[in-house]
Structure formats: C-alpha cells, structure tokens
C-alpha cells in the first residue's frame, strides 16, 4: 500500500508544478468547462509568441461569468472566453473587460458584433433549433414540423420535449426564440398552446436529448426535441458505425432558432495586455476558427474560415434566426422565465 502511495507523489508533484508557469512567459485564459482546443493549434500560438498557455475552466457558462464579475479589476486571468449573448449585459455592466478593437474584426460580419464598444468580441456561434427523428416521420408518412407554429398542430401532440429555461442554456435560448418570434405579447399564448398539446419539459439537455428524444442514443419516446442546429452532423460524425444519412434533422425556418454567440474579452487589470491582444487576435484568426467545430461543437464567425466537408453536407444554418437584444434579455430574463414557469409548469 505504502509503495503504491509513493508512486503517486511524483504525480501530485506534477499537478503542483503545473500551477506555475512552464515557459518563459505565461498567459492565463479563463473559460467555461466546455472549452477545448487542438494540441497543434494551441502549440502554434505558444511557439509563435514564446509563451505558455494556461487554461482555467471555471464551471458552466453562468458560473464562469459570475466568477469573472466578482473578480472585476483583480482578475484571475488575462483573457475571458465563453461569455454568451444571454450573459453579455451582466459582464459589460460589471465592466470586467478592457476595450480592444482587433484588426480581425474586419473579417467578421457585423451581425455578430453585439457590443459596439468592442469590450466583448465575437468568436463563435451555435443555433438552438428544433431537431426531429427523421425515421419516425418517414415511417408514418407524416410531414416533419417546418416552423414553431406547426408544433401546435394536433398530429404533433405529445411529440415534443424541451428543456427548462430556468435550468438549461438551450432551454433559455428556445424561450428567447419564441419571444423573438411571437413578440412579448404572443409568446405565452404559444406556450399555452404547447402545454395543451402535451409538451414535455425536462431540466437539462442530456435528459431531453439522451433520454426522451427518439433520434439519438437515448432512443426515448419523443421524436421532436430542442437541441442545436449542429446536432445532425455530429450524430453522423460521432456514430460508432459510418452513416450515410443523418438520423436527425434540424428545423431552420425563419424565426424558429435562436443564435447563441460566444465572446472573448481582455480582463481589466491584466498585466499581459500585449499577449492578451495576441491571443484574442489568434482566436479570431482562421486556424483557431477552423478548429472550433470539432473541439467545441460551435461554428466560426470569421467568414474566411472554411468548414469540414461533412458540415457542408449535413449542417443546416438558419438564415434568419429569431433575435432578442442582450439589453432586453438582461432586463427581462427573470420576468420571462417566471411567466413561462407560471404558464407551462404550474
């Protein structure tokens, strides 16, 4: 026993040693826990800038933002990545970022730039959309849903599962899609109708997609689910056996999806401003942008970044996702969630 314990000491040592910088200079990047990057891509930045990257995963997107907000001015890291559009206002109001107008913003369409002051710079996006089990509808000769309104039709009764917006990020995004599409006056009527049509609500994406949805590995009873526009290509890519066709498809008609954009910013108080700028530029540049889909299942905002052939074939991108401004989200998030809870759950 004691000898086995002894073998652990070097391991512990290596964990401890990793706290300190390994290279001559270190840059600390604070992220949410879904962050990932290819070894070659990260190493290229390190070699080019003679720096060691240190990543700090700080819980889910909401927890990470809160930590950055509470540490405003005395930051844990030099750069924060992973702020999404629903938390954007919280971070900007707390003033956690220093403004930086990266030259690479020129390669990014204006529609992604939600912060005109350039404190938070867009890096990637993902669309939250309805997904359906293609085989279910094909077998029954049933037309799959084409829009949010379709979900109210009697033939789709008891087919939809959604996530709770109070507990889940895609759940909140879908609620925002309905607010954007039906307006503040109409979204609750829509949800009332969904409730009458026997919508099932679960707390998180895993439960909805893995357990209740019929088109993926959970194989549950419901053939329509709120997931990502990118879920179908990933079903193909991460299947144990090669697939010709995606088992699922996303609904991307106008106003039926909500676009989550993720941002990066330089944390106020950093002592590595120059390196931080280099890293932000790097995140917006083509090599990092092209690495995004396979590492984090999100898509590049840089219009010069190319996509893998598999995405060209299986990925559907909504041309006109529903839109709600970050300020409106920040001001009404609680009200909308409360009203939703009152309408759908109680």
């Amino acid at each position: 026993m004691s000898r086995r314990l002894l073998t652990l000491i070097p391991l512990f040592g290596s964990v401890l040693a990793s706290c300190g910088p390994r290279g001559p200079r270190a840059l600390t990047v604070m992220t949410h826990d879904s962050f990932a990057v290819s070894e070659t891509v990260a190493a290229a930045f390190e070699a080019e800038n003679d720096v060691t990257l240190r990543f700090l995963a700080s819980g889910d997107a909401g927890e990470a933002v809160n930590k950055a907000v509470l540490a405003a001015g005395n930051p844990l890291a030099d750069v924060f990545y992973g702020l999404d559009s629903t938390f954007l206002s919280r971070a900007l109001e707390a003033g956690i970022f220093e403004a930086y107008e990266s030259p690479l913003l020129g390669q990014i369409p204006d529609s992604f730039e939600l912060d005109p002051g350039h404190h938070a710079l867009p890096v990637d996006y993902g669309d939250v959309c309805l997904n359906y089990d293609r085989a279910y509808f094909a077998d029954r000769g049933l037309e799959p849903p084409g829009s949010l309104e379709d979900l109210l039709r009697p033939e789709y009764r008891s087919l939809l599962v959604v996530e709770n917006p109070a507990a889940s990020s895609p759940g909140l995004a879908f609620l925002l899609a309905t607010v954007g599409h039906f307006g503040e006056d109409g979204y609750l009527d829509f949800w009332e109708g969904l409730r009458e049509n026997d919508v099932l609500v679960v707390n998180d994406w895993e439960a909805a997609y893995r357990t209740e949805f019929s088109g993926s590995s959970g194989g549950g009873p419901r053939p329509i689910v709120v997931s990502y526009g990118s879920s179908p290509p990933f079903e193909v890519m991460f299947s144990p056996e090669p697939l010709e066709e995606a088992p699922t498809a996303a609904v991307v008609s106008d106003g039926s999806c909500f676009r989550q954009i993720e941002f990066v910013g330089i944390l106020r108080g950093t002592e590595n401003r120059e390196l931080a700028e280099a890293w932000v530029d790097f995140m917006l540049s083509v090599p990092f942008q092209e690495d995004l889909p396979l590492q984090m299942y999100v898509f590049p905002v840089n219009s010069e970044a190319g996509l893998d052939e598999i995405f060209a074939r299986y990925l559907a991108i909504p041309e006109h996702p529903a839109f709600v401004s970050p300020e409106a989200i920040a001001a009404n998030r609680e009200t909308w969630i409360e009203a939703w809870t009152e309408t759908v759950l109680r």
Binding site: V15, S58, G59, V69, D139, A207, M237, S239
Partner: protein
C-alpha cells in the same frame, strides 16, 4: 490579605491550565482551517451580497418568507429529506445488522459494492437511472416486450419518486458503515443475558440493542438527512423542472438570475437549518451516549444457521442489490451495448455487444490538448483523494479528540455544531467566496488546483469527525484512568490506549473522505485545470457532448470509475480483515 501569587511556574496553576492549553492546541489547526477556507470566503460573499440589497439585509429575507413559492421550496426540502432519510434507514438498518452480526460468503464483496453508489457523480447516477428506469431503460423495454405494450409503462424519472430512490441509492452506505461498524463491536452478551432472563427477540431488540445502537443511528441519520436536505444534482437532474430544494434555488438565484441578495438570504436560511438540526442531534446524542464494552468481531459474529435465517439473509441481500446495484449494472450493461437505435424502430436497442466505447477512450480522435486517457484521469482523481484523506484526517482527528475528551467544555459545545456547516453550504456559494476572499497576495489561491482537495476536505471533515467521535467516546474512561494511575503520561495514554482503540473509526473516516473526494464534481468543476481532469470531470465532458460515440464513452468511463471504486473498497476490506485496530 496577600494577593494570590500567579507565577507561571506554580505547579498547581500549571496543572489547572494544562487541559485548557491542550484543548486549545487540539482546536488550533481545525479552526484555523475552517476560518480561512470556509468562514472567511463565505462571509465575504454574504457581506458583498447583502450590501447589494436595495432594501437592506432584511429585505431579501422578507421577500422569501412572503413568497408562496419559496415557502414551498423550504417545505419540499424538508419533506423530501425526511422521507429519503426514513427510507434509507429502513433499507440500511437490516443491512447493517446482516453485515455486522453474520458471516457469509462474499460478504466483503457485498460491503465493497454497497459503497460504490456513494462515489458516483450525479450525472452518472442520472444516466444509470435512465438506463434502468428511463423510457427506454431495461425495465421498460422488458415490460413492453413482455406485455406487448406500445408505450413505456413506467414513468419514474422527473418525479419525487426518482429523487427519493436516488437518495436511498446514494446514502444507504452511510447507514451500513456508521451503524454496521458500531453494531459489529456491540457486546452480544447483553442481549443474551436479556433473553436468558426471558425477554423475547423483539423485546430484546427494542429494549437492549436499539438503545445501545442509538448514538450510531443518530449520527448516521444526521449525515443522511443533511445530505438529502442539501441535495442539488439529484433534484435538478432526476426531479425534473417542477421540484426545487433550497440548494437548487440558491444555484438558480446565483447563476441564472445573479440575484445575490436573495441567494445569500437562502444560504443563511439553509445554514440556520443545518445548525438547528445539528444542535438537535447533539442534544439527543449527549443523552444517548454511554460507555460500552466493545468487543472484537470474533465474539460478535457468527455464520448463518438454519433455513429461516438463510432465507431472511438472502432476501436482505437481494433488496440491497436491487436498490444499490441494479442501476449501476444497467449502466455497465449499456456501456457494452450498441446505443444507436435502429432506423425507425422505437423503443428497441439494436442487439449486439461492443467494446467500441472502451477502445475509443484510448484514442485522442480530436487531437485535443485536453485529451486525458482514462489512466491519467484516474491518477489525478487518486492524487486529490489521497490529499483529501490526509488533510481531513489530520484536521479531523484532533477535532474529534477534543470533542470526545472535552465535550463538556463550553468551547467544545459551541464549536461542535459549527463543524457541520460546510455540509450545508453549496459549492457555488463557496466557489464565489473563494474568488472574493483568496485573491490577495500572499494567498492568491483562486486559480490553484490546491483548492480542489481543500474544498473536498471541507465536505469530508464533518464525516471524519462524526465517524470518530462515537468511537472515541465509547472508550471507557476507566481504561485511561487506570493507565494514568499506573503512571503513564498523557501522551502515552493516547498512544497506547486511545489510538489502537480508535483505529477502526479512523478507517471508516478515511474511507468516507476517500469516497467523497473521488466522486465530487461541483467544487472540482469550479477550479478545474482542463489538462488534468478528474474522472467525474472527464465523464461529464463526454456525457454533455453530442453523438452516441461520446455518450458511450461517458458510460464506459463511468463503468471504469465503478470498477476502480470497487477495487479500492475491496482493498480497504482487506485491511479490515487484518483487523486493524481490533481488540
């Protein structure tokens, strides 16, 4: 009148001071640790939060107490914890008896297996329950096949039932270990004497055995109740969107709404309940505690005799297996099954076994910087767990000692309930508190992996103390007095009398600390270095990524965690067989 002489060298005064100094020395490290890594961070968060309240610190309390929804949350938190604790005792006490008093083949394997649920991260338990009871879980599939049903007949997930089942699944091992261990050393002659005097079996149990067991039962109930009371992941993932405990609401107020004043008020309310429940327990246990003749196992255990005894034991073992192991087996079975549904076939799994998911674990397919082979993740988890055991024992032993030896002193009576507070504090609050409090040099630990074993120790510490105190208190004072009377200095009394007797308590305490660290997710995720994921973190990454290959890998790694945990527990059982600290 001559003033009393107060020279330091005066022998009488020194003798009077010594116990107080000893007590202070015992409390120094544990209290310094709690002050620095618990009270300071939490206090910083609470004071910041209340300072942000527009209507003063009382306003959020008022808004909570006048809200029907919030009162419902508090009521539900209590109700589900009471129900879960009662059912856990119902399953755990007969199991504890069987493991404590009877000898049968495979007992150490059974003991080891019953500890595995305690280590499983919530997401794994959710996956396990879904594999067993979900709409396409084994049970529903079997029932649909058997009765030719079109829809899954069992809807257990997203209900109070699932929450309670999961709590029983998680916490039965606390009863088995805390009560079982005590029971296995209880002198059987007391009961035998009662029966010789004509008492029936039931009478003997209720009049003799149960009262003697009460300290251990009360300690186990307290721990189980507090765990259920502060339940977060289980309620969130298995309870569905309509159920919320205080802990779930604290998370929602903090993370989703960033309403820090209300979150702080809820935190204070939860801590007040934790303190109240602990104080109640301490009053009770002071009355229940009596010094005992503890006996070695050889004198208290015997093999099963006769058909009836065997049948009852068989039924008990079957119950334990159904409640504690069937979800795990369902998960393990799914990790070697093909997971993608056959096109168009609802509710069936494509038959066939595969080791693809296990093979895939060894491949860095995405060439990620954060790829960690299973062995590396297990290594990181073991390092944290070892550090947690060392830290929790190092701090818990002196604290338990002070409580057991000087429990009557005012200091001890005041400090004792406070030790349980970390169990009643959410990982989210503590994580934010660390950010506020530990961010100034020389102590900028906010980004340090050291925070992981520190946070684990905060959770493990109450367990260590609660497992040690009953063992230490049950040492009969006469033994120590005799040794002292024979001229043994205090340290020698400790070394020769207390330490050997307390060995088994230390083992139980170390086991709990180890298990808590191995399975902990919330605090770990808050300060993770993605290059060095623990096993629960690596599992979480797989389960939250799209595609069935990722899901399968998550299940495969969960199964490996179960295997590691079973092996670790069996190793500890081997130590027990060597009767460390037996007498």
């Amino acid at each position: 009148m001559t003033p009393p002489r107060a020279t330091a060298g005066h022998p009488g005064l020194w003798a009077g001071l010594r116990p107080a100094l000893l007590l202070a020395a015992l409390w120094l490290a544990p209290l310094a640790f709690l002050a620095l890594f618990y009270f300071f961070p939490l206090g910083s968060l609470l004071s910041l939060s209340f300072s942000r309240s527009a209507g003063g610190p009382a306003a959020p309390f008022l808004s909570i107490l006048t809200s029907r929804f919030m009162r419902g949350v508090i009521g539900f938190t209590f109700g589900q914890a009471a129900l879960s604790t009662a059912l856990t005792l119902l399953l755990g006490l007969p199991g504890a008896y069987l493991l404590a008093r009877r000898i049968f083949r495979g007992k150490d394997v059974l003991r080891a297996l019953t500890a595995v649920p305690f280590v499983m991260p919530t997401l794994v338990v959710a996956a396990a329950f879904s594999a067993l009871l979900g709409p396409r879980g084994w049970l529903n599939v079997a029932l649909m096949d058997l009765f030719n049903l079109a829809a899954p007949p069992l809807r257990v997930l997203n209900s109070l039932g699932a929450v309670v089942l999961a709590h029983v699944f998680y916490n039965t091992t606390i009863v088995l270990r805390t009560v079982g261990d005590f029971w296995s050393h209880l002198d059987p002659r007391l009961g035998q004497a009662a029966q010789t005097l004509g008492a029936g079996r039931a009478q003997t149990f209720f009049r003799i055995t149960l009262p003697l067991l009460m300290p251990a039962i009360a300690a186990a109930s307290l721990l189980v109740f507090l765990f259920d009371f502060t339940s977060f992941g289980v309620v969130l993932v298995l309870g569905g969107p309509r159920l919320a405990t205080l802990e779930v609401e604290i998370y929602r107020q903090t993370v989703s709404l960033f309403n820090l004043p209300v979150a702080a008020a809820l935190t204070v309310i939860q801590l007040a309940f934790t303190l109240g429940i602990t104080a109640l327990y301490l009053r009770l246990s002071a009355r229940l505690q009596r010094p005992l003749h503890l006996r070695g196992r050889a004198q208290t255990q015997r093999p099963l005799r006769g058909f009836r005894e065997r049948a009852v034991a068989g039924a008990l073992i079957a119950m334990l297996l159904v409640f504690l192991l069937s979800p795990l087996l369902a998960l393990a079975a799914r990790s070697v099954s093909r997971l993608d549904p056959e096109a168009g076939e609802q509710g069936t799994l494509r038959p066939g076994l595969t080791l693809d998911y296990y093979r895939e674990l060894g491949v860095n397919r995405r060439l990620s910087r954060f790829y960690a082979p299973p062995a590396a993740a297990i290594g990181v988890s073991l390092v944290y767990a070892t550090a947690t055991v060392a830290l929790a024992l190092g701090l818990g032993l002196p604290a338990a000692w002070a409580l057991a030896r000087h429990g009557g002193s005012l200091a001890s009576r005041l400090i004792d309930p406070i030790l349980m507070l970390p169990l009643g504090t959410s990982a989210v609050s503590l994580g934010l508190g660390f950010i506020l409090a530990l961010g100034r040099p020389p102590l900028d630990l906010r980004a340090s992996p050291i925070l992981v074993p520190l946070a684990h120790t905060l959770v493990a510490f109450p367990f260590v103390v609660r497992s040690l105190v009953p063992a230490l208190r049950s040492i009969r004072p006469r033994l120590r007095h005799a040794a002292a009377a024979l001229g043994a200095p205090p340290l020698q009394v400790i070394r020769r009398i207390d330490l050997p007797l307390v060995g088994r308590g230390v083992l139980v305490a170390a086991t709990f600390a180890f298990m808590i660290s191995l399975g902990e997710f919330g605090a770990t995720a808050l300060v993770a270095r993605p290059e060095f994921p623990t096993v629960p973190l690596a599992i979480y990454r797989f389960l939250s990524a799209p595609g069935s290959l990722n899901y399968g890998q998550g299940l495969a790694l969960s199964t490996i965690l179960m295997a590691v945990c079973t092996a670790g527990m069996l190793g500890i059982e081997r130590l027990r067989i060597a009767e460390v600290g037996e007498f």
